[in-house]
Amino acid sequence: MRRLFTHDRLPAMRKLAIVPPFAWLALFLLVPFLLVLKISFADLRFGIPPYTPLATLENETLTLGVHLSSYLLLFTDSLYIATYISSVKMALVTTVCCALIGYPMAYYIARANPKARNLMLLGVILPFWTSLLLRVYAWVGILRSDGLLNNALMALGLIDAPLEIYRTDLAVYIGLVYAYLPFFILPLYANLVKFDMRLLEAAYDLGAKPFQAFWRVTLPMSLPGVIAGSLLVFIPTVGEYVIPEMLGGADTLMMGRLMWTEFFNNTDWPMAAAVTCVMVLILIVPLALLQYNQARQFDSERRRGKA
């Protein structure tokens, strides 16, 4: 039987077919990032572009201008350091909250009968399709001191004075968990729904209690889904800009916001580039984990395809 694109078939065509998507990604993803790396070692100057060139050729002398000033400031200034710590902390707390809410949801969706399952899944996917910006905006009207939540609580007599949530870190947490919850539930659901129920039956037959069976069978089996979901929440949250900007206070420190300020308000492009590099540096381990996860998935799917 002939196979598509085996090594002996049209090797030249085969190689050519890889090129266009690869070229797009190299040109618009890889090269731009290398440029960010380059500019992070430049110095601020007046003019267009507002940074010094990396190398200049003058009087047959090649001068390399590698400026470390951005990085020196980034690694010594306490405000910057506080921002990294705060970003990572917020992303971690968000991931844990998404796991606490998302795991039981994904679990019960996966266990529901097929008809209800489709409907429940749709309920998770629908917010994912609708505008993040508009959904985060919805929280503004709820969390403000004269907003719906405070009005409701005061009408019920639970509080006397409005709670200050809007423009605090708490509001940012609510917004982040709200926005990223579907990203946790969907990969976990995909894992849980493939779970072989006979494993649980075996555990029960061997005398496990329901919690024990969950803790020692279901949870370990679903770990790949938990990891994928956690990474899909954690990584983008570290660099999130829109949510802290809309719900957070002036003292809500997040790297995405810091980079934005350096770039748009201070027009300090080398600094903004350096902040971006630090962000990627912080995310390199989780990103590599995600890539590994994805690559393994692609591989196992390829094997399945060949079987």
């Binding site: 039987m1 002939r2 598509l4 694109f5 065509m13 077919a17 890889i18 690869f22 990604l25 618009f28 993803l29 731009p32 440029l35 960010v36 500019i39 572009p49 949801m105 019960y108 266990r111 489709n118 429940m120 749709l122 996917i125 629908l126 399709w129 609708t130 505008s131 910006l133 508009l134 905006y137 919805a138 929280w139 503004v140 009207g141 907003g147 719906l148 009005n151 919850l181 129920m197 649980l200 329901p210 069976a213 899909l232 990584i235 983008p236 660099g239 800009y241 829109v242 980079m259 934005w260 770039f263 971006t276 962000m279 995600l290 890539q291 690559a295 799917e301 390829r302 399945r304 395809g305």
Partner: protein, 267 residues
């Protein structure tokens, strides 16, 4: 099989779906409120819808966004499908690790990273060869396509993997060229997934604030940019009306698409 605890299940699901949907419901409800504040209900009114449709800035921004979204979705589906097909059907090749890496990076990578790096590249390119002359539709489109390829590739590769390969192999055995097999056999089989990923790319592009902030130029304000510049400082009731329409349209599309999908699964 042990029955999951009914009470716990009801509790978890009510709370979870409540969390996801109550904010949207509030937003929609108060788009019909007469008062400009979301504090109290003062009466039913359509005045914010009226204001929305006479707001020229919002309408022209919406027009631009719809154009960019359609162009983005089309290009992203073409490139993403291509990339997914290469990945699923070609096995390992030199550099396939880098390939998967680059393909999946935009899925999780903070959008600010993609935005700033593309902007810096366009600035450098402009310095070097004088192209692109300025930021605008083209630069935003490039950014959105790069973001959306990843999403499209994930959806399509899942579909291609589930295909029955014997159909393609039969066509090959009958002497069709691989290219013909792709267009005559594979493509029609994955058409629903193509449609779904086109819509996904369309909505992603229609919703993006961050990449467009970096890559847009004067005179090219997309809808999310216009919305964001209004709401970052507080409540704007005409945006409630816009959100309601947006969510209803998207919701309707997703529900119809899912119904079609389910019916197919049943037969």
């Amino acid at each position: 099989m042990a029955k999951p605890d009914r009470f716990l299940r009801a509790f978890v699901l009510t709370l979870g779906y409540g969390f996801l949907y109550v904010p949207i419901a509030c937003l929609m409800l108060f788009s019909f409120n007469d008062s400009a504040m979301m504090t109290s209900w003062t009466g039913f009114s359509l005045r914010w819808y009226h204001e929305l449709f006479s707001d020229q800035a919002l309408l022209s921004a919406a027009g631009l966004s719809l154009q960019i979204a359609a162009l983005t979705a089309t290009a992203a589906v073409a490139l993403g499908t291509w990339a997914a097909y290469v990945l699923v059907r070609m096995g390992r090749f030199r550099g396939s690790g880098l390939y998967v890496g680059m393909l999946c990076a935009p899925l999780a990578m903070p959008e600010v990273v993609l935005g700033i790096s593309l902007l810096l590249m366009f600035v450098e390119l402009g310095e070097l060869i004088g192209w692109p002359a300025g930021n605008g539709m083209f630069t935003i489109w490039v950014g959105h396509v790069t973001l959306c390829i990843a999403y499209v590739a994930v959806v399509i590769q899942a579909r291609i993997r589930d295909l029955d390969r014997s159909l393609e192999e039969a066509a090959l055995d009958l002497g069709a060229s691989p290219l013909k097999v792709f267009f005559v056999i594979t493509l029609p089989l994955i058409a629903p997934a193509l449609m779904a990923s086109w819509l996904l790319a369309f909505t992603l592009s229609l919703d993006d604030v961050v990449i467009a902030s970096f890559l847009s130029g004067p005179g090219y304000t997309t809808l999310p940019l216009e919305v964001f510049s209004r709401v970052r400082l507080g409540l704007k009731p005409e945006i409630n009306a816009l959100a309601t329409l947006f969510i209803l349209i998207v919701g309707l599309c997703v529900i119809v698409a899912s119904k079609v999908q389910w019916r197919k699964e049943e037969t």
